[in-house]
Subunit: 444 residues, 2 copies
C-alpha cells in the first residue's frame, strides 16, 4: 500500500498562490483499488462513494444504455442483501444514497452519519461482486429505465434536439450516443448484455473509493482494506481505448422542428480538448472563454452584442465540459428576441464571434473574471460533498489527485493570449454542430 498525505493552507492574499484547503490522503489497495480520503470535521457525517472508470462510452455497439441500466440494477439483490435493502438500510440510519452514470464513469454514494461508514462500505463492497439478478429484475427495471427515457428525452423536445446534435457532433466516437441509451436498444438489453458489462468493468482495479467527511484517513484505509481488499482484481479489464474522431471537415446544421417546442432557440457546439493529465492549460483557457463569451447576462461578449446592443436575443449562454476522457464540447446558445428569425440571430452570433476573434479580450474584464474564478474555486472547496464529486469525477476520467489540486493554480495562470489561442483553435466551423430548435405547427 502506498500512502502520502497532502496538506496545504488556505491562501487568500496572493492571487497566484494555491487555493487548496482540503486535506487529502490517497492510497492504493493491493488489488488496484484507489482510495481518496478528504477530511472535513465540521459535521459528524461522511460521504462514501465508489466510482467505476466505466460509462456509456464503454458500451459495445448496439447496447447503448447498458451502463445506466446496470446502475439501476445495482440496487437489486446480492447474495446477502435483498433488492432495495441497501437503500432501506441507509435511510433507516438517517442517510441518503443514489448513483449516476455519465459517458465516462458510474458512481454510487451514500451520505450518512460518520459512525455508519463501516455499514455502508460493507454493502457497497458486497454489490461490487455479488449482484444476483433475476429475469424479472431485468424486465421490471427495463420498464423503469424506459419510463425515465420517456420523461427526460422523448417528452422533452430540447433533450431530443440535444441528442440529435450530439449524434451529429461525433462522427466515430461513442460519445455520440445518449447515456440513457437509444430507445430501440434499451428494449433489446437483456441479462447477457448487463452481466457482461458488470463482470468486465465492476472490479476493484477499475474503481476509486472517495470518502469525505468526519473521518480518520488511516481508519478509512483500514476499513477499505477490510471490505474491498479481499475482492480480486478483474484479470481481463480492457484498456480504456475508444474509437477516436477522424478530422471533422464540415460545419453541420440541424433543423429540429417539433410542435412541443415552446420557444425557438439555437445551440452551437464545437469539438474541444478535455483536461488531460499534466496538461490542463488549454482546458483552463476554455473555461475562461466560456465565461468571457456567455458567462454573464450583462457583460459577456454575446450578451453585450446580441442582447443589449442589437436586441436580437433575449438570452445567451456558453459552457465548457472540461472533465472528459476523450474530446469534449464547447457550447454556445441563444434564445432569439420576439420576431427575430433564428437564421438572423445565428448570423449575428457568428458576427459577434468573428468580432471577438478579431478584437480580443477586454483586459479589465479578464482580470475581474480571474478573481471571480478564484473565488468560485475557494467557495467550491468549502463544500465537502462537492469536493468528493470533483475528485471522483476527475480520477474516474483519467486525471490524478495532483491534477485536481493543480487546477486552481492553472486557472489563475491563464493569460488573455491563451484564451485567444484556444478560441481560434476551437471556434472552427468545421468542428461545429448548430441545432436550430423551432416550434412546428401541428399541421407540420
Amino acid at each position: 500500500m502506498q500512502r502520502h498525505i497532502l496538506i496545504s493552507a488556505l491562501a487568500l492574499v496572493l492571487p497566484l498562490a494555491p487555493v487548496l484547503a482540503e486535506e487529502v490522503t490517497t492510497a492504493t489497495l493491493d488489488n488496484g483499488m484507489e482510495v481518496v480520503v478528504i477530511e472535513d470535521h465540521r459535521a459528524p457525517a461522511v460521504f462514501h462513494s465508489v466510482w467505476y472508470r466505466t460509462g456509456a462510452a464503454d458500451e459495445p455497439p448496439g447496447a447503448s444504455g447498458a451502463a445506466h441500466f446496470l446502475e439501476h440494477l445495482m440496487f437489486k439483490a446480492t447474495d446477502t442483501l435483498a433488492a432495495g435493502e441497501l437503500s432501506a438500510v441507509v435511510t433507516e440510519n438517517g442517510g441518503s444514497d443514489n448513483a449516476a452514470t455519465t459517458a465516462d464513469f458510474t458512481y454510487y454514494y451514500q451520505r450518512i452519519a460518520a459512525d455508519r461508514l463501516d455499514l455502508v462500505m460493507g454493502m457497497e463492497a458486497d454489490r461490487m461482486r455479488n449482484l444476483r439478478l433475476t429475469p424479472e429484475d431485468i424486465e421490471t427495471e427495463r420498464q423503469v429505465v424506459i419510463e425515465e427515457r420517456n420523461q427526460r428525452t422523448e417528452n422533452n423536445p430540447d433533450a431530443l434536439a440535444d441528442e440529435q446534435g450530439r449524434a451529429a457532433q461525433y462522427l466515430n466516437h461513442p460519445y455520440g450516443a445518449p447515456v440513457v441509451g437509444w430507445m430501440h436498444e434499451l428494449r433489446g438489453l437483456g441479462y447477457p448484455e448487463v452481466m457482461d458489462f458488470y463482470h468486465l468493468y465492476y472490479s476493484p482495479n477499475n474503481a476509486i473509493l472517495v470518502v469525505a467527511g468526519d473521518v480518520d484517513p488511516a481508519a478509512v484505509i483500514a476499513l477499505a482494506q477490510e471490505h474491498y481488499g479481499p475482492i480480486p482484481p478483474a484479470p481481463d479489464l480492457p484498456p480504456r481505448l475508444r474509437p477516436e474522431e477522424p478530422p471533422q471537415r464540415a460545419a453541420r446544421h440541424l433543423l429540429f422542428a417539433d410542435p412541443r417546442v415552446a420557444q425557438d432557440h439555437l445551440t452551437r457546439s464545437y469539438l474541444a480538448p478535455e483536461r488531460d493529465p499534466g496538461d490542463q492549460g488549454d482546458a483552463a483557457a476554455l473555461l475562461f472563454l466560456a465565461e468571457i463569451l456567455g458567462g454573464s447576462p450583462f457583460t459577456s461578449v454575446l450578451a453585450r452584442d446580441l442582447v443589449h446592443e442589437q436586441a436580437v436575443a433575449t438570452e445567451v449562454w456558453a459552457s465548457y465540459q472540461a472533465v472528459s476522457v476523450d474530446a469534449t464540447t464547447f457550447r454556445l446558445g441563444l434564445t432569439p428576441a420576439a420576431g427575430v428569425p433564428l437564421d438572423e440571430a445565428e448570423a449575428a452570433m457568428d458576427a459577434a464571434l468573428a468580432r471577438f476573434l478579431d478584437e480580443g479580450v477586454d483586459l479589465a474584464r479578464f482580470e475581474r473574471l480571474r478573481t471571480q474564478l478564484r473565488a468560485a474555486e475557494i467557495y467550491a472547496r468549502d463544500n465537502v460533498t462537492g469536493l468528493a464529486l470533483r475528485y471522483g469525477a476527475a480520477l474516474a476520467s483519467g486525471l490524478s489527485v495532483k491534477d485536481v489540486q493543480d487546477w486552481p493554480a492553472i486557472l489563475q495562470s491563464v493569460t488573455e493570449a491563451d484564451v485567444m489561442r484556444v478560441a481560434r483553435a476551437v471556434l472552427d466551423p468545421d468542428h461545429s454542430v448548430t441545432v436550430q430548435v423551432v416550434h412546428e405547427s401541428e399541421e407540420g
Copy 2:
C-alpha cells in the same frame, strides 16, 4: 445437398411476364456454403467468385478499414501459395482476377478459360483457410491501403465531403464509417485485428460461391464439393445484427469548403428502406422514383424544373442503392448554374420536390420508364459477369435467388401510387443530410 434447377424463357411480348433468361442452379454444401451456377455457353469462359457475407459494417469499433485491409492481404501467401502467386497463375493462364469490399460483403473473383475452373477454385478454397500473414505483409500492405485512401479520398474533396455526409447520415449504424477506413484507424490496424476478422468471418458457412459461364452445373457442384466441401464451418459465426438507427429527428446540413473544389455542388441523401427478402416492392418503387426525379437530363422532374425551366442548375441526378443489408440511402444532387448560389439552387430543388409531391407522376412518362426499366433488365441479363455480380451481391446482402428472379416482375408491377407513397415516406427532411460542397479561396 439440396439442388433445384430454375429455367425460364425470355418473354418480350407481355409487359408483366417474367423477363428471366438465365439458367440458374443452386446447391448448399454440407458445411453451409451456398453454390450458385449460371450457365452461359456463348463463350468458353468462366467467372468464378466467392462472396463473404461480411463487410466494413461488420468491423468492431475503432477498426474501420479492417475488412478492406484483409481483402488486400488475401493476395499474400498461404501454406501452399506464395504471395501474389494466385494472381500470377491466373494471368499466366490468360485470366484476370480481383476483389472488392463494400459495407456489406467482400468478394474475390477470377475470370478465366472454362477449363481452368478447377485450378482457380483450388486456389480460392486454399486462401479461405490457409492465409499465412507475416508482420511485414501487414506493414507493407498497410502502406498500400493508406496510399489508396490518400488517392481516392484525402486528395479528392468530393469523396471527403461524401464521407462527412455519410457519417452525418447514420447516427448509430456502422454504415456511417467509410469502407476504406478512417485514416487514424487504418494506421492502427495490425495482425490481431485482421486475423480476428479473418477467423471470425471467412468460412464456408459465411460464403457464397457464384460461378457463371460455360460450365455444367453438376460438374461445378462436384468441384465445389471437392475444393470447398472439406473446409469445416466456423462454429462461432455471429448473427448479422448491426446497431440500428434511432429515429432521425432533424434535417442536417453540412458545409464542406475546400480550396481544391473545382465546381460547387450539392448532394442530398435520405435514409431509405432496402430490398428485403420477400419484400422488395418499396425498393422497386424507389428505383422508379430515382429515375423520375433525376434519371434523364432532359425529361426528369429535376432536370425539367431546375435545368431547363429555371436554369438554376446545369446538372441534376438521383440515385438509389437498393441492395443493402440495413437501411440505405436515396440520393439527389445538382451542380448550380454559373453565378447561382447553392442556397438558391437548393431552395429551388426543395420547391421542385414539393411540387412533385403535390402534383404526382406524369403517367405517360411513367409508362415509358416502365418500358425502359424492363429493357434495361433484359439487357443486363445478357451480360454473364453482370449477372454473377447481381446474384452475388444480392445473396451476400441477405436476398435469395428467388428475390433476384422476382425482381424484374416486381419492378414491372410498380404503380404510380406506389411511387408517390414511397416518395412521401422517404423524402422526409428529418431523415435527410444535405452537403454543400464549395470552393474555398486559399486564404480561407
